[in-house]
Subunit: 382 residues, 4 copies
C-alpha cells in the first residue's frame, strides 16, 4: 500500500467511526476533556493543511482562513479582537462544512502525493496519520461520553468495538530479576517518547495473565472499598468524596441491580468482562484492597510477551517521564510529547478503541490519575 | 381569531424565528443564561403537554416519557439514576425529534380545542401562549448570542428585527407631582406581577423622550467612564474589573474603529441608533456620568403615554418586588413570577424582539443587574 | 458634653467592646464578611487621621506611612510592589501597635479639638464618630462569629448584650391608608441615605407587635420549611441547598436537642426569645409559611411609633434604593452610601448591638439577602 | 545523650524557632499550604499525647479533650455537630494555652521515659521526634511566608539560617554507567519511603557541583524565560499565566531594581547566592533554557558523595513513587508516607532550614510541582 492509499484509508476510518452519529452529536462538549467530534474532524485536517500543504504544496489555497483559529488548540487573536473559542460553544462551521473541508484537503493531499515527496515530508505525513489515529481513539471515548451522559441513553451501534471484551488468560507469569532493555528498537514509526532505548534493572515479580473482571471489582464495591480511606492515596480520597464516586464510570445502580451504559444503551453488567473506565486512583485502591500492586511500565514492557494484551489500556504505577536519552525534536513537532511529562500516569498496552496497526508493546499512553473516560483496566502484580 | 387559530399562529412564529438556523445552532449553550434553541422549542411544547393535554385531553398519550425530564427545568431522577441534564450537553433528542414533538402536540391541541373547553383551561392555554411568546423573545437573544460569539460571526438574516432601531423623539417630558394608579386595569391577559393595582405618590420629574444613542455612549467610553470608579456601584465596579468590561456587549475595537456584531455580521456601528445590550450597572453609571438618573418603574409607567417606547427594554432604578396586593396563584402557576422577586431590576417597555401583541405599558420585565444579552437600552430622568 | 468628650467616649466604647478578647481573637477572619477586630480598631482610627488630622491639624505627623494601605479598604500599591492585603492574613501591625496608633491619634484629636474648629470639619468628625459606631456594631457581629465558629465555643462574657432579648408586645397594630412622609426631618446627625424626605402612598395594613419567637421558628423547621421549595425564592432555594442550611446561624442539633452558641457558650435555646441570626431568605420563607409577609421599609417607618423596636434589626421587603431626592455629597464622603444601593435589602429598627444613641426610626440598615451574622429578626405583616 | 535528653532537645528547638515571633504571628494562615505556627506547636504535641501517652503512660490524663480535633488533621465531629476547623480561623486555644499544653505533655513524657520503655514504643517516639523535626522545617517556611507576605515586611531576626547561603563548588562531576544500589542501608532511623533498598541501572552523566545562582537565574528572566512557552510543561505554562508568575517567590521589582524578602526584611538581591524558592516548573524550565536537565533522584543519590549539598532542597525529575519493595507499616503509622505517592516530585539533599542531624543522602523529600515556599533550588545535569 503506497502512502496515498494509506492516507486515504486512515482518513476514511475517522469518518467511519462517526457514521452512526446524528448531526447534533458532533457539536457538544459535556466536560472539558471531551472534544466535540466535529472538532476532531477539523483539527486532524488542519494538521495536514498547516504542516504539509501550506508549507509544501505548490499554489495551495487555504480552505478558509478563519479555520486556523477554530481548529488550532490555543486562544486566538483576530486583529485586536480576542475571542475565546470554547470548542463546545461553536455551532459553526457546520458538520457539513467540516466534511467539505476534509474532502478539500484530502483531494489536495492526493494531488500532492502524486508528485515526488522528500523523506522529511513523508515522516511528517506519517506523524500526521499517527496523530489522526490517536484522535480516532479519542473520538471513540468522546462519542461514548456524549451518548452515555444523555438521559435518553441512545445506542451508538449494535455491532461495535465493545462486543468482544474478554479478561484474557489465567494465573500469573513470573519474570526474573536482571537488566533489561526498554524502549523502541525497530525501524518503523514510533513516537518520540518511546525512544532513548536504555537499560533498566528489574526485580523479580509475578504478573497476572488476566485483567481484573467486573465480578472482582464488584466485590471491592460491596465490601466498602469506596468508603475506606486506607486503600486510597490522600488526593484520591479527596477525589472520591468531592465527586461522590462509588463505582466505575457509566455504572448505574437501578433498583438494586447494576447496569452500565455501553454502546448499545443501558444494559445489565456482564460480570465476566474486564472492568473498564477506571481511574488510576481506583486501580491503585483496588490493588491495595487485594494486597497486590500495579506493575511499573518497565515491568509491563518486559512481561508483555507473556500477556494477552490489547483489550484495555492498563494503568501502571509509573509516572510519565522522559527516558534517559529523550531528545525533543526541533520546531513545532518537538512539542508533541515532552510538554506533557509531568503529573500524569503511564498506561501500557492498547484498547479495543485503538486504531488498527497502532499497537506496540513500547507504546506509552498517559492520562491524569483521575480520568476514566478512556478504555482503561487493571492488571495486578505481586 | 379563535383560540385554535391564535394557538397555531403563535406556535408557528416560534418556528419562523428559528428558520434561518443550521441544525448545529440549535444545540449549543455558550453561557448559563443562554439556552439552546432546541430546548426552547421543546420546553414550550412540554408546557402544553403537561398542563393541558395530560390533565384534560381524553386518552392523550405522551409523546415520549423521557422528555419530561429533558424539557423540565430541574435536576431529575429516573429510577435510582440521577443525571444532571445540562442543556448544552444534550445532543439528543435531535432537532428533528423536537419538531416532531411540536407537531404531535399541536395536532393534539387542535383536536382538543375543537371541543368545548372550560374558562379555567382556556386561561391556562392563554398563559401557555404568553409563556411561549416570552420564550420567542429569549430565542432572539440566545440566537444572537450563539452566532455573535462564534469567531466566524455568521449572519442570521439580512432582513431582521434590528433593521429599524431608532432612538425616538427629542427633549424631555415633564410629569407633575401627585398620586397615580399603577398596575394593570384591563380585562385581557396580563401576568400576575402586573396585578394589585394600587396608588403611588410620585414627585415631579422630567423624562427624556429619546433613548441614549451610540454616539452619546461612546463619549462615556472615550472619556474614561469604564476606568472611573466614581460612576459605579461598588459591586458594579467589581464586575467591570473582574470581567474586563470596556464597552457594550457585541462591541469590538478593530484597528481603532468600533464594530459590533449585529444579525448581519460584524459591521461598523451606526452612531445614531440607541445604545443596546447594556447592563443595569452600565446604564446607571452612564446616568451618573451625565448627572442624571434612571426612572423608577412607576415614573416610567406614568410617563409612558408621552414616550415613543418599544425599541429596547429600558432599565429602571426599581427593584423587582411584589405590588402591595400581589397574590400568588395556587399550584404550579403560582410559581410563575413570585419566586424571582429578589435581587433583580425591572425593565419597562418592550423591544424589537418582543412578540407581536405582547406590548403593554404595565408589563414588568426583570433581569439581574449584570446581564446584557437582551435588547436593553437607557432612558434618562432629571 | 462637648465634642472632645463625645469623641473620647465613643472611642473608648470601641475598646470596651474588645476588652474580653485574647490577643489571638483580634487577628482572624473566618469568612470574607467578618473583619478581624484589629482591623476595625485601625480602620476607624485611620478615618480620623486621614480625613481630619492630615488635612487640618497643624504639623501633624502621620503615625506610620504604611498603615494607610493596611487600614484602607482597597488593594494598594507601594512603589512598584503590589500586595494584596487580605485582612485575615496580616499578623502585623500587632494588637499593641494598633492600640498605640489609637492613643496617638486620640491625643492628636484632643489637641486639635482644643482649638476652634470649622462647622464643616465638625460635621466630618461627627460622621467619623457615627462611622465608628457602625463599626462597633460590626465588631459585635464579628467577635461573635469568631468565637462562635471555634470548636471550643469559648464564652465572650457572662454579662453581655444578649442577656435581655425579648420578643416585645402582642397582637397587631392597624395602620390606615394614605399619604405619609418618609425620611429624616430633624436637625441632628443622620446619614445621607435617610435624607430626601418625601411622600409615599401606603395601603392599609396590620403589623405584628412582637417579633417572631424561637418557638414559632422551630415549628417552621419541624414542619419541613427548609425542605419545601414553595416557601422560597428561586435563588434562596439554591442558597439553602448549596449550603445545607437547615436552621438559623449558631443553632446546633446535639443528640436531638437544639443548642445555640450565644456569648456565654453553647447553650440550650430559650424558646421565648425572638429568633435571631436569620437571613432575608429565611425571613421571607417563614412569612410565606405563615401566609403573611414582611413589611416594606415605608410601612415599618409609619408603624414604628406603635412598635417596641430595638432588640433586633428587622428585615423588610424593600430593596435598598435611593430616596427620590437623594443627593450624593461631593468628594470622598459622597461614596458613603450611594454606591451600595443595588442588590441589598433594607432592615429597620436597631439591635442590642447598636451603639447607645444610634437608634433612629428613619435609620436604613442594609445587607445582602443571604447574610445572617448580624442581629436580625422577623416581624410579620398581614 | 539518652532518649529523654534527645526528646527535650528537639522539643526545645521548636520553641527556639518561634522565639522571635509576636503572638499574632502564630495565628494566621495566608494560604492553604501554610499552617499557623500555633498549629505546628500543638499538632506535634498531640502526636506524643495520642500515640505514646494515651496508649502507654499509666493514669495519663488528657490535657484537654477538645484538642484532639483541633490538632488532628481531619474534619471532625463532636456529638452530632460537625465543624470544619480551618486552621487559620481558630483564635483559640491561645498561644499561651498551646505552650501550656506542650509543657504538660513534655513533663508527662519525661516521667514516662524515666521508666523502662519497650523497643517498639521507643521506635514510635523516635518517629515522633523525626515528625517534629519535619515540622520544624515547615515552621521555618511558614514563618517566612507569613512575614514575607505582610506589607510591612517585618524582619524575623538579624542572625538567621539564611545568612550563609552559598552556591557550592564549580564544574561538573562525571558518573559512570552501571548498576547502583539505592535506598537506606544503615541501622539508624529512616523513613519508610527510603527503605526497599534496590538496584537501579544508571547511564553515565555529568552533574554540576554548584547550585544555579541568582545571577544565572536573572538571565533567564531578562531573556524572556517566563514569556516563552517552549521552555515549559503544558500545565506549567498555565500556572505561569494564571498566576502572573515572573520571578521566584519573594522577589519584587522596585524602581527597576530586584529586591527580595529575606528574614531580615526587604533587601537587594545578592546575585552570588543560589536561587531559592523555585517551583519544579521553574527549575525544569530553567534547565530547558540552558539545554540541560534536572537529575533523577537516583542519579542524585549516586552522585551525592561528589557534591556539597545541604543548602537548599534540590528538585529532581523523579516522581515520588514507592521503591520496588516498599511495605506500608501496619496501623496509623502506615499512613505516614505511602498515601502521598502520586502527583508529587522528589527533592533531594537538605536545606538551611533542615533540623540538625536530619540530613541523609537517602532522604526523599517531596512537594507538588507548583510549590515554592520551601527552600528549594536547582542543580543541573548534562
Amino acid at each position: 500500500m503506497n502512502l496515498a492509499e494509506t492516507y486515504l484509508n486512515i482518513r476514511q476510518h475517522t469518518a467511519t467511526i462517526c457514521e452512526p452519529l446524528q448531526t447534533e452529536d458532533y457539536v457538544v462538549q459535556p466536560v472539558v476533556d471531551v472534544s466535540p467530534p466535529k472538532w476532531h474532524l477539523g483539527h486532524t485536517t488542519w494538521f495536514f493543511e498547516t504542516f504539509i500543504l501550506k508549507l509544501n504544496a505548490v499554489k495551495y489555497e487555504v480552505f478558509d482562513e478563519n479555520y486556523n483559529f477554530v481548529f488550532n488548540s490555543y486562544y486566538e487573536t483576530v486583529g485586536a479582537r480576542v475571542i475565546r473559542t470554547d470548542r463546545g460553544n461553536l455551532s459553526r462551521p457546520t458538520v457539513q462544512d467540516v466534511y467539505r473541508y476534509r474532502a478539500y484537503v484530502d483531494e489536495a493531499m492526493v494531488r500532492f502525493l502524486a508528485c515526488e515527496v522528500s523523506d522529511e515530508v513523508k515522516a511528517l505525513i506519517t506523524l500526521g496519520l499517527n496523530h489522526e489515529q490517536q484522535h480516532q481513539e479519542l473520538l471513540c471515548y468522546d462519542i461514548k461520553y456524549i451518548l452515555g451522559h444523555n438521559p435518553l441513553f441512545p445506542a451508538y451501534a449494535t455491532e461495535n468495538i465493545e462486543c468482544n471484551l474478554t479478561a484474557g488468560g489465567s494465573g500469573f507469569a513470573a519474570i526474573n530479576e536482571g537488566v533489561y532493555e526498554i524502549g523502541y528498537a525497530g525501524k518503523d514509526f514510533c513516537f518520540d517518547n518511546e525512544l532513548g532505548r536504555h537499560k533498566v534493572y528489574i526485580n523479580s515479580f509475578e504478573i497476572s495473565k488476566s485483567l481484573v473482571s467486573n465480578a472482582e471489582y464488584l466485590e471491592f464495591i460491596t465490601q466498602g472499598g469506596y468508603q475506606n480511606f486506607k486503600f486510597w492515596h490522600s488526593e484520591a480520597w479527596d477525589w472520591v468524596r468531592n465527586n461522590d464516586i462509588n463505582a466505575p464510570l457509566y455504572w448505574h445502580l437501578v433498583d438494586e441491580q447494576w447496569f452500565r451504559y455501553d454502546l448499545q444503551g443501558l444494559n445489565p453488567i456482564n460480570m465476566d468482562e474486564p472492568v473498564c473506565h477506571i481511574s488510576f486512583y481506583e486501580a491503585w485502591a483496588f490493588a491495595a484492597f487485594k494486597n497486590m500492586r500495579l506493575p511499573t511500565e518497565f515491568e509491563w514492557e518486559v512481561a508483555s510477551a507473556e500477556l494477552d494484551w490489547g483489550k484495555l489500556w492498563e494503568w501502571t504505577e509509573s509516572a510519565y517521564l522522559p527516558y534517559p536519552n529523550f531528545v525533543k525534536a526541533p520546531g513545532a513537532i518537538g512539542e508533541y510529547n515532552g510538554k506533557f511529562m509531568v503529573n500524569q500516569k503511564v498506561l501500557r498496552g492498547a484498547s479495543v478503541a485503538t486504531s488498527p496497526g497502532h499497537q506496540r508493546f513500547t507504546y506509552r499512553n498517559f492520562f491524569h490519575a483521575n480520568l476514566r473516560w478512556m478504555y482503561s483496566g487493571i492488571r495486578l502484580v505481586k
